[in-house]
Symmetry: C2
DNA sequence: ACTATTTTCGTGTACGTGCACGTTTTTATA
DNA sequence: TATAAAAACGTGCACGTACACGAAAATAGT
């Protein structure tokens, strides 16, 4: 009888082989551009591939080649804030999705207060046998050293959360810092018709300081570009992150500038200022800061923080891994820069925010 | 020599079969709870499955069973606005990802101004042979009729964009309307210390009107819950959506209420009010509305619209299809309600918004 | 012209699961 | 006890691709 006449079989290596009058193995060689095929038949097969728009069956492919890809991530460990737990969740989510395809992920963490932990982890990574790296390049020079070696070995890497331009990374996934500062300025300006605004940088680590600066730049740019002459900007840097020290600095600022009506904190440490506000029973000042952290959300709920700007940390981790996957496993092209949306979180919408 | 000694092979039906002293086929029968297995061995095999945490290899599974799943979507066609193009993009994106697994998607569209087009499409769907439905239930009673039949036939369906509660849908994917109205109120209140606020409902179709009402409810709730006695709310309904008619209605409203300082449009037709503002050279009023449509974005850029609230229409389509996929193909559990984040779009962040 | 080498190509098996079919064992019936 | 029927189980091929291995053809060297 007709056991298998009705096969549409338009695609597939078998069909290509049939049309080219060669065996499947030869087609296979062309597809993976291995050697051992004459220039004639190679060309012929490539034409047929073009013609029928051959798309290899990923399922069968991964099943047959028991190939295993090893990705490695190198990010800060969560200590002072739990920020990095979010990207880590995203990484885990991506891992769950693609482990079916034989991808495994190894995680390394470094201490944001200790550059050497970064370098040591980087060394271990280079010693291991990996096919792709997801990297948060918090320390500029150390990162440059690492990526130089990667490039030399043909080991692809993507940057996450903060970028080092022109480093031939596969791509960058993270926030547009300048613009997020600009956004914060608009929000404050919208709610504040006049009065001084205090900019607060809270950061122990000198290395992450330049990120804050980019935000501050954007923040200031809004006022200069929009003729908001009524709003004078005041700024303080806080390097000692103990509560007492922060309180003292803020005391000083509010004493010198008696008419500050809004505060912009350039990172997730906005909770410290919120805490200060609560203690001093300050209620009428606008407070804007960064990141969807549980403590920040608490102050948001209580109306002490007005807006949080957040840039999908979980998504960053997820997309980071998926980009490696797309490039290395699926072999498809990926965008060079993936800026996260600038999400505005309020008391009303935080519970629907998908991190 | 040792050809294949070194197999970790902890998982897999083969391993289960080995441990249970049965053949692979028997294990297979248990996994798909088909009959033809004694109660004893079934129990034994199930225990082993539990023990080793067996996860079938989806790749091999879909490869072996040349099973094809057919999904169908039923959504409005884009006419007066291009809103539905976004969910459609999301649906296409999902399709690209899962067609590898043998899923095909058929699309039906209905006219939001003509209930009968919905019913006719629904009939066609029921005549076709589908495994899952993604549905925008714009018309309540017609939708109820359709889903009743689906339920009876065991054909799973998910709601998108607007919900009909308690209809045993697989899940609902879309906005939390009430809360998004509440959010809009907060934004306006933040920028407006006093003065009247105009609520504008623009909608031809009486059926989609109840969506707008839910938003309006939330909007009003904010003011009553937060003692904003300074802000009086005024409301107009506009059923005739011609430009002349809208202009006339707005003329009337601003004439009667001379101190309106902010306008809240409960849907994407905010562009009509923006257009009116531009014509009349009105610049000092706050304007808030809905949806990431190109025209709206234009007014946002020019500073006429202050905020757009947007709820990831593309994502809705994507997640809708993926939920069907998760449930029907992968057999995993899915959440009953997936509320989209309430995204706040401004002049500063629209270009980073991932729809 | 005859071997040696290289290039080019085909055969066959494996990946993990699904399923049709056939075989064995048990249970029911005469 | 013999026989039929039903229940329980096993064998083997298929899915589309990868790859080791070996065969054939082309080229080189004497």
């Amino acid at each position: 009888m007709d056991k298998q006449n009705d096969k549409p079989q338009l695609s597939g290596v078998k069909e290509i082989a049939r049309r080219a009058n060669v065996s499947i193995a030869t087609v296979d060689r062309v597809i993976h551009n291995r050697k051992g095929v004459s220039e004639n038949t190679r060309k012929k097969i490539n034409e047929i591939i073009e013609e029928i728009g051959f798309q290899p069956n990923i399922l069968a492919s991964r099943l047959a080649s028991k190939k295993v890809n090893r990705f490695v991530v190198l990010i800060p460990e969560s200590q002072e804030t739990d920020y990095w737990e979010s990207p880590l969740r995203g990484i885990g989510r991506a891992e769950d999705e693609i482990k079916q395809y034989g991808v495994s992920i190894v995680r390394y963490f470094y201490d944001l207060n200790d550059k050497t932990t970064f370098s040591k982890a980087a060394e271990k990574i280079l010693a291991g046998n990996f096919d792709g790296v997801l990297l948060a390049p918090s320390f500029i020079s150390e990162s440059l050293e690492f990526t130089a070696t990667c490039r030399q070995r043909g080991l692809p890497y993507v940057f996450i959360n903060s970028d080092i331009p022109a480093q031939h990374s596969l791509c960058y996934i993270g926030p547009h810092l300048y613009q997020s500062g600009y956004q914060a300025a608009h929000l404050i300006s919208f709610g504040l018709k006049e009065g001084k605004i205090l900019i607060v940088n809270i950061s122990k680590e000198i290395d992450s300081y330049h990120h804050l600066l980019r935000k501050e730049e954007g923040f200031r740019a809004f006022f200069s570009e929009n003729d908001k002459v009524l709003n004078k900007l005041v700024k303080i840097d806080i390097r000692n992150t103990s509560e007492a020290s922060i309180d003292a600095d803020l005391d000083w600022a509010f004493e010198v500038h008696h008419d500050i009506d809004a505060v912009f904190v350039t990172n997730s440490r906005v909770q410290s200022v919120a805490h200060y506000f609560e203690k001093k029973n300050i209620q009428d000042k606008i407070l804007v800061g960064y990141d969807f952290l549980s403590e920040n959300i608490e102050y948001l709920k209580r109306g002490i923080i007005d807006f949080l700007i957040c840039q999908k940390p979980e998504e960053q981790g997820y997309i980071g891994i998926m980009s490696l996957f797309q490039h290395i496993v699926m072999g498809t092209a990926i965008e060079k820069e993936k800026f996260m949306p600038i999400d505005i979180i309020t008391k009303e919408n935080y519970e629907f925010y998908s991190n």
